[in-house]
């Protein structure tokens, strides 16, 4: 330990505590909610507690933004710009999910206090995914998020679909994480260490014979990470799970879990497998050309997601699930180019994606709250039966997801495509554009159903209460504002596109 140094950047166990206040708060809150559940009769009060705790945690994370970078707990996790960005994003996703849950009829009906504790625990795990710097913390936090997600996905009472979705999630998750730790064991064997940095250094100086073993190991590791972000060969759980889970949880998994998965994937790629080669371009180590593989993965993911969404006509949650697979493909474009530009474009896009996708899930929830329906027919003529405001909001979110100007999604995609074109990867850019056009068809179909079709009378009226209305207003405003005044967020993403390398 560098006790002699003026400001040590590698902290031991005790001195790390102050830097981990948001996580410590969340951990204590989880335990407190489980205990309070025994005495509190009205479980929604626990939801209020969770909301308050999450708000405080977000404030605590914000305070760390100006405190400088540190490596904590003997190199287990780091506090750096990149990690804090994702902690904020995950914190906001959890805040939104808790807010939605408080206004959700599905969740209110279950009336269970543990729900809020498990939701907070899931957010805690996601925060660790964004800051883990060794394989052990990466695996532990990823599995933590998985375990809590299985429980949350199966939360709907008396629904066989929910149980099956949860089981399917667990089985896919078990297989993916099993493959991942087998791959990690080879990485450990090749590098002789679990630490991302030590892995990088070992791979950079490794003899050429390592490349085949490294290729196998990373392919297996990618299975676990690809599963978390729902990328192409590991996506099959997503539609069933999103459909079976309560809507706020579907939204939380779509924005929070995906962001956390990307955080881990990006940090692993950029710090363990590559290093900054100067001029904003990263160079891979270990003699394996990952960019080609990631390119294929990206194109396949977005194409598959969009084609499946085109074929999916009935359930809105399934539609959004396929669309979220497609969006994982778009974000992966930023990983393919391996530049600082690509990195900040990914950060920016994930934040924008959070706003517009959570908004879309919120509108689905509003309709389900009033009518109990999640299918496309339940949206017929939504604008003409009291739901003009949510219908307009949904149109904004869906057009933003498509990437139409002047909405936030357009700016996000613009930066991603710009990063790709800068590296002269025209095929990838073309695939992205074609896919965006493709996605317009199914998004526009929903908008047409809401506005151009007349209600047949059996759908029931849709009303918006104040609680959900506030969140809806905020998300719509954010989608619109980020479409024209994106530079503050972009500056923040730019500032956060750095890793603490010790």
């Amino acid at each position: 330990m560098g006790a002699a140094m003026a400001a040590p950047t590698h902290l031991g166990n005790l001195s790390s505590l102050g830097w981990l206040l948001p996580e410590i708060l969340l951990g204590l809150a989880v335990v407190a909610i489980f205990l309070l559940d025994l005495v509190v009769e009205e479980k929604e009060r626990l939801g209020d507690v969770a909301l308050g705790v999450m708000a405080i945690a977000i404030v605590l994370i914000t305070r760390l933004l100006w405190a400088g970078d540190r490596s904590l707990f003997e190199n287990s996790v780091v506090v750096d710009g990149f990690g804090l960005y994702f902690k904020l994003l995950v914190g906001l996703a959890a805040f939104g999910a808790i807010w939605m849950s408080l206004g959700s009829r599905e969740v209110r009906r279950t009336n269970q206090g543990e729900y809020w504790g498990i939701l907070l625990a899931s957010a805690l795990g996601m925060m660790f995914m964004g800051s883990a710097t060794n394989l052990l913390m990466a695996y532990l936090s990823l599995e933590f998020v998985s375990l809590t997600s299985y429980v949350l996905a199966g939360y709907k009472q008396g629904s066989r679909r929910a149980g099956e979705a949860s089981l399917k999630y667990l089985i896919y998750g078990g297989v993916a994480s099993g493959a991942m730790i087998y791959g990690m064991s080879w990485i450990y064997g090749l590098a002789g260490s679990l630490d991302f940095h030590a892995i990088h250094d070992a791979l950079a100086g490794s003899p050429s014979g390592a490349s085949l073993a490294l290729f196998v190991a990373l392919l297996l590791t990618l299975a676990g990470l690809g599963y978390k972000v729902a990328a192409f060969p590991f996506h099959a759980w997503a539609p069933d799970v999103y459909e079976g889970a309560p809507i706020p949880i579907s939204g939380f998994l779509a924005v929070g879990s995906k962001a956390a998965g990307f955080a881990l994937l990006i940090r692993f790629f950029f710090t363990a497998l590559a290093h900054d080669g100067g001029a904003g371009a990263y160079q891979l180590v270990g003699g394996v050309s990952w960019d080609q593989l990631m390119l294929a993965l990206s194109v396949l993911t977005m194409t598959f997601g969009n084609l499946a969404a085109l074929n999916q006509q009935s359930n809105l949650k399934r539609l959004l699930a396929y669309s979220s697979i497609a969006h994982a493909g778009y974000v992966l474009m930023g990983l393919v180019v391996l530049t600082t530009d690509g990195l900040r474009a990914m950060l920016f896009y994930l934040a924008v994606y959070y706003v517009m996708n959570l908004g879309a899930f919120l509108v689905v929830m509003l309709v389900a709250n009033s009518t109990g329906r999640e299918d496309l027919d339940g949206f017929r003529g939504l604008a003409w039966r009291g739901g003009a405001w949510p219908a307009a909001a949904m149109a904004v979110f869906l057009f933003s997801l498509t990437g139409l100007p002047p909405l936030a999604g357009f700016v996000g995609k613009f930066y991603l495509f710009a990063a790709v074109v800068e590296r002269k990867m025209y095929f990838l850019a073309l695939a992205g554009v074609v896919n965006s056009v493709l996605s317009l068809f199914y998004y526009a179909k929903v908008v047409r159903t809401m506005f151009l079709e007349q209600p047949t009378g059996g759908e029931g009226a849709v009303t918006v209460d104040v609680h959900n209305g506030i969140l809806l207003g905020v998300l719509v405003a954010a989608t619109l504002v980020l479409g024209v005044a994106w530079s503050p967020l972009m500056d923040f993403a730019d500032r956060s596109a750095r890793f603490f390398l010790g």
Binding site: E143, L147, G158, G163, L167, L170, G174, A179, S185, G192
Partner: protein
């Protein structure tokens, strides 16, 4: 021939392949989960072998303790889900409930 690192890694690989085969061919959920347990054990054999012969010290053994712990947690949740589905089979007509609710 002296028993070295590769001997253990080959045992790990064989167990891993058996696990993958199980996962691919089983249709029964519990069967698939047993395949997953095989994969987890194969990884553990690797970790402990690397811990013994490699330069990482006890790290490998500690990793495998976490693998065992998380496998137990996963098995508990998996059984709870299976139990839940089983209960629903017996107590309620699921199709009816499903179409009525939102």
């Amino acid at each position: 021939m002296e028993i070295g690192l590769n001997h253990y890694l080959v045992v790990g690989l064989l167990v891993f392949l058996a696990g993958v085969f199980t996962v691919l061919t089983r249709r029964n959920a519990i069967g698939v989960l047993m395949g997953v347990e095989l994969v987890l054990n194969s990884a553990n054999i690797n970790y402990i072998a690397f811990s013994r012969f490699g330069t990482g010290g006890l790290e490998g053994q500690i990793f495998s303790i976490f693998v065992i712990m998380l496998a137990a947690a996963e098995a508990a949740i998996g059984l709870a889900i299976v139990l839940g589905i089983y209960r629903k089979f017996q107590t309620i007509d699921v199709e009816e409930v499903d179409s009525l609710r939102g």
